[in-house]
């Protein structure tokens, strides 16, 4: 019976998963802990109190006010007041601060003259967040002080008149979907999707590697129990889908909830989007797992690709500015579409019709990778069922047994040799 066979394969695959610690680590432990670590790492969202030094060449009431107010912003913290730029640079070189605020000596006199005065900012560019903090902190202070200065100059007008005069058109800024405008809400959705895809690839590849090792030693012959490769493939996929139903629920729904991240998804959209993602990833994993020749090589082959994958998704460097080649190359990975879709469903509250392109792409990938894995399975089965395969296998397992014995003999001989010397 077809269905019975399928469920039989599923049951066996599940048992194999549970009994293999290596695979369990990938399917359960890594998805359980890794997202927590990442979310914890980026939990601060932004940097606060970036240490800077001040060089006040003006030493006036206004310059001191500027520095005092900069120190009071949440972005900056003045750790030292230096006599000159040389001293300030020295503090930077000693890694005690990441920026310099320098106020030129003619600062106040220029202001009194009614001309434009300049404050010089120097920023260490080892992190763009330092730059952002220094610029936004000081801009905030200057806008604030500018208004005060203008108010004084406009004495004689009413307060309302002054306000209109200084800012005829007001503007406001709304960072949509990421209220803190921070790292966690922006990067974590991508990390979560990538964790799902990569653990699937690693776990499936590890099982395939084990299988390959056993086949090489003649311990395992495919196609004895089930004649139809489709049944085996579908059964395995069902097993992984069952496991990842739970894993994905935890990773995509609970982890963001633990860390109070934006979660604007609607359940039907999320399910309708994640199921094709999981299916595409499963068949993608099965397809590439055939290149794995032993249990542990999956680490060397597949881990590093996570790093380019996160960039290919366009979550960091915008897709609109990628070279065409990489844009096309990125299409072959389920994560590219899933990251983009999930980020918008989860963080921006998009509906299924808003991520239509991504979800169609995932269904196409599911179909394509199903065909490739089926093709490879067929070939494996055929090679194991060729006439004389049984004999070849028996020979192979005998050879391995003898090799083992010879190795043990060699060890004994060496030990004896050593004790003689």
């Amino acid at each position: 019976m077809w269905v019975k066979d399928l469920l039989d394969v599923t049951g066996k695959e599940l048992r194999k998963t549970v009994s293999d610690v290596g695979v369990l680590v990938f399917f359960i432990i890594v998805p359980l802990l890794y997202p927590l670590l990442y979310a914890y790492l980026y939990g601060g969202e932004v940097v606060r109190e970036v240490p800077v030094v001040a060089v006040d060449d003006c030493r006036s009431t206004t310059s001191r006010e500027f520095l005092r107010k900069s120190d009071a912003t949440p972005d900056l913290k003045i750790v030292s007041y230096c006599a000159d730029m040389e001293e300030a640079r020295n503090v930077l070189h000693n890694h005690k601060a990441y920026g310099i605020i320098q106020i030129p000596s003619e600062f106040e006199s220029t202001l009194t003259d009614g001309r434009q005065a300049t404050v010089n900012l120097y920023c260490d560019m080892s992190g763009l967040l330092y730059y952002k903090a220094l610029l936004s902190g000081c801009t905030m202070v200057s806008l604030d002080m500018n208004r005060d200065i203008q108010m004084v100059r406009l004495s004689g007008m009413s307060d309302r008149e002054k306000e209109v005069m200084t800012m005829p058109i007001e503007n406001e800024y709304v960072t949509m979907f990421n209220p803190a405008n921070g790292f966690q809400a922006f990067l974590i959705p991508a990390v979560l999707i990538l964790v799902l895809q990569q653990t699937l690839v690693l776990g499936v590849a590890m099982m395939a590697g084990t299988e390959h090792e056993r086949r090489r030693k003649g311990e395992l012959i495919l196609g004895n129990e089930y004649s139809n490769p489709i049944t085996v493939l579908a059964g395995k996929a069902l097993a992984y889908l069952l496991v990842y139903g739970f894993t994905a629920t935890y990773v995509l729904c609970l982890v963001p909830w633990f860390f109070n991240m934006p979660q604007l998804w609607q359940l039907p959209t999320l399910v309708a989007f994640i199921v094709p993602f999981l299916l595409a990833s499963i068949f993608f994993a099965i397809s590439i797992s055939f290149f794995v020749k032993d249990r542990e090589s999956c680490f060397l082959l597949f881990v590093f690709i996570s790093v380019p994958l996160i960039f290919m998704s366009g979550i960091s460097w915008p897709t609109s500015n990628m070279p065409a080649f990489w844009k096309a190359f990125a299409q072959i990975f389920p994560s590219t579409h899933a990251v983009n879709g999930f980020a918008r469903i989860n963080t921006a509250g998009a509906l299924l019709q808003d991520v239509r392109y991504e979800s169609i792409a995932l269904w196409i990938q599911t179909a394509v990778y199903f065909m490739t894995s089926l093709f490879i399975y067929e070939r494996l089965y055929r090679s194991d069922k060729m006439p004389g395969a049984d004999f070849a296998n028996a020979m192979r397992s005998r050879m391995y047994k003898e090799l083992r014995e010879a190795e043990i003999d060699l060890k004994v001989i060496r030990r004896k040799l050593k004790s003689k010397l």
Binding site: E172, V174, E296
Partner: protein, 390 residues
């Protein structure tokens, strides 16, 4: 069996045979890093993203609103691709990822501005995509302030002020920003300088651990130790020597790519960075040997090495600064070789300060190199008694 050759060079020759006999080594030591080198440097070849797609909702549709939009479109980094009829339409376009942000000019903006009622125009960006969102914000904010200043300037000039006086009045204090070392705010400089060594270090950690433990798994450890006269230090150093050579070649490739071909800032020249890269290779190998000796299981030690390699990317602090992380992770960051490499790069290539300031970071990398001395004897024991457990 013929007499087995012993000694350092015999092991080196044996290791070179092992490396060339499996495609896996070629893929992970050569192809994988090279792929990433090319990927990252070409991906961001624009340096700073240009012409980011943005939209507008112009409910006012007057001379003032149109002049704002025209000016905005002339910015290099912003490209207005579409006008939307309503706020909801623009928001949906953002959710479909067609635009990264939009400008909202409500009805009556010109009327209110000319009758001095202070209207408000709004900037919306999709901060799910942080980089384009921040860049669009910068352009749009400048535009909004300038639009306001234009109106204010006209009022002032009408009242008899000259241009200088008007600007001195509208913006008494202005900021002059000097980004040290990377004045173009080039993202390629910012990311590739750490991403490339990070991938290399990850591969080194994994390959080192894998190649040592494969000897144990395949039962060839006896032969390996025998060739080194049962001296584990000699065995390990001879085994890793050809790998160090290959990784050094890879490091040279990325250094030439970054500082030669792409001309990224290397203010103290090539050599301090080459030294740092060499030390990073040795430190990563040292760390991997330390782990491989401490944990006598291929899978567990390889898992730990992998975790370390991957985690070193965020924890080195080049994208999100270490000072913004929780305290326990700040402390943990000291245990990652890449962290020190990053600090050296900032000092030596980006800022070009005297090497003495980075002495501690070089020393820390050196300490990672000699870390295996602590527990390498365990590896010798394991090599003699080990049985592989899947």
């Amino acid at each position: 069996m013929s007499q087995m050759k012993q000694g350092f060079w015999a092991i080196v020759r044996r290791e070179m045979l092992r490396m060339t006999s499996r495609r896996l080594y070629g893929l992970s030591m050569f192809a994988a890093p090279l792929f990433c080198f090319i990927f990252f440097t070409t991906l961001m070849n624009e340096g700073l993203p240009q012409s980011l797609p943005a939209g507008v909702v112009d409910e006012d549709n007057t001379t003032v609103s149109r002049s704002i939009l025209r000016n905005l479109d002339s910015y290099q980094q912003t490209e207005i691709i579409k006008q939307y009829a309503s706020f909801a339409e623009a928001r949906e376009a953002m959710q479909r990822n067609e635009i990264y942000g939009f400008f909202y000019i409500p009805k009556g903006t010109e009327l209110k501005a000319s009758s001095q009622q202070q209207p408000t125009i709004s900037i919306y960006t999709n901060a799910t995509y942080l980089i384009p969102s921040s860049l669009l914000y910068r352009d749009m904010k400048t535009m909004a302030v300038m639009a306001s200043a234009a109106v204010g300037r006209e009022i002032l000039i009408a009242k008899g002020a000259n241009m200088d006086q008007a600007m001195g009045f509208l913006q008494p204090i202005q900021m002059d920003m000097h980004p040290l070392g990377n004045p173009w705010l080039n993202y390629n400089v910012y990311l590739s300088n750490t991403m490339l060594p990070a991938v290399l270090a990850l591969m080194i950690l994994m390959v080192t651990c894998f190649s040592i433990h494969t000897e144990l798994k395949d039962g060839t450890a006896g032969e390996w130790l025998f060739m080194a006269d049962d001296n584990i230090l000699k065995a390990v150093s001879a085994k890793l020597f050809p790998q160090t050579m290959v990784f050094s070649l890879m490091a040279a490739i990325y250094l030439v790519l970054l500082y030669g071909y792409l001309g990224f800032p290397a203010h103290n020249g090539f050599w301090p960075m080459l030294l740092a890269a060499e030390l990073l290779i040795l430190a990563s190998q040292g760390f991997a040997v330390f782990i491989a000796s401490a944990i006598p299981s291929l899978r567990w030690s390889l898992s730990l090495c992998t975790l370390w390699g991957v985690l070193s990317i965020p924890i080195s602090g080049f994208s999100f600064p270490v000072m913004g992380m929780p305290a326990p992770l700040q402390a943990l960051s000291y245990l990652f070789p890449l962290r020190y490499y990053f600090l050296i790069y900032v000092d030596q290539a980006l800022n070009g300060i005297p090497m003495a300031y980075s002495a501690w970071f070089y020393t820390a990398l050196l300490l990672f190199c000699i870390l295996p001395l602590v527990d390498i004897s365990l590896l010798r024991k394991a090599a003699h008694e080990y049985t592989y457990l899947p």
